[in-house]
Symmetry: C2
Subunit: 134 residues, 2 copies
Amino acid sequence: MKIGEFAICTGLSKDTIRYYEKMNLLQPEIKNKHRYYNKKDIDIVEAILKLKQTGFSLQEIKMLFDWSGNIDQNKKLTKEEIQNLLEIKVIFQEKYEQMLQREHQLKQIKQVLLNIDNKIKHLLEKNKEENCWF
Amino acid sequence: MKIGEFAICTGLSKDTIRYYEKMNLLQPEIKNKHRYYNKKDIDIVEAILKLKQTGFSLQEIKMLFDWSGNIDQNKKLTKEEIQNLLEIKVIFQEKYEQMLQREHQLKQIKQVLLNIDNKIKHLLEKNKEENCWF
DNA sequence: TTAAAAGATGGAGCCGACTCCATGTCAACA
DNA sequence: TGTTGACATGGAGTCGGCTCCATCTTTTAA
């Protein structure tokens, strides 16, 4: 699949797709200076959109992808690598806490939206009764 | 409370506070060209932050505030007002759907974060065993 | 009363995430 | 094989949401 079709089937613009590539979120196969995409790339884009919607920046998404991917579980780590890992662990734990918090906020916001909806319903009904010409 | 204290107690910068005012999200009392804030303004800022985190733009937040506030439930509406109201109702219903969707995504993301955390834990434990100098 | 701190204002600048444009290259089909 | 449509590339521009700066005015405390 070339970029045009990929754009249509992901709903992104070609420019955005190339931008995501520049941000290292997509690595399409390149033949003769043209990009070719496959199912896996569609999955990646879907994941990006989800994460974006819940407030991750493209950089954070990149980081998440890097760590979700295949990590050599058998590699011996140097002291620095262990240090890095501890820091990264903290970052992800903070992100998790954020998600919990956001879950709670979502509930509150849903309630607010419901309240508004009710208010509007009421207003409409009142006006329906009073203006009922038929 | 003047802007300096308000900035400290909301965690926003003075510039941001004035920016939110320009966006009509805050309307501090103004005496002698100086802004004065109170508890209600703090509540507003907290609401803004929550909504921002779950992906509302400042404009959307403004709209939400306008509709959460005191609406005259007894006002007779013109045809146009009713028409507007119907449109607004749809917007809020769509927002509600979005929130449901986002709730679902959040669950998935939490799982991904847990997986990464486990992966890192494993890596660290493996390396602890093998590098245990003490 | 006056110096220094705090606040106000207007405009420029910045950053992330695109979007647009001009120009050049490749490919697919008649 | 030529031509037309799709793709590539680099750079500039846009938009939301701030942030910084210079300059000016008000407040506050010694």
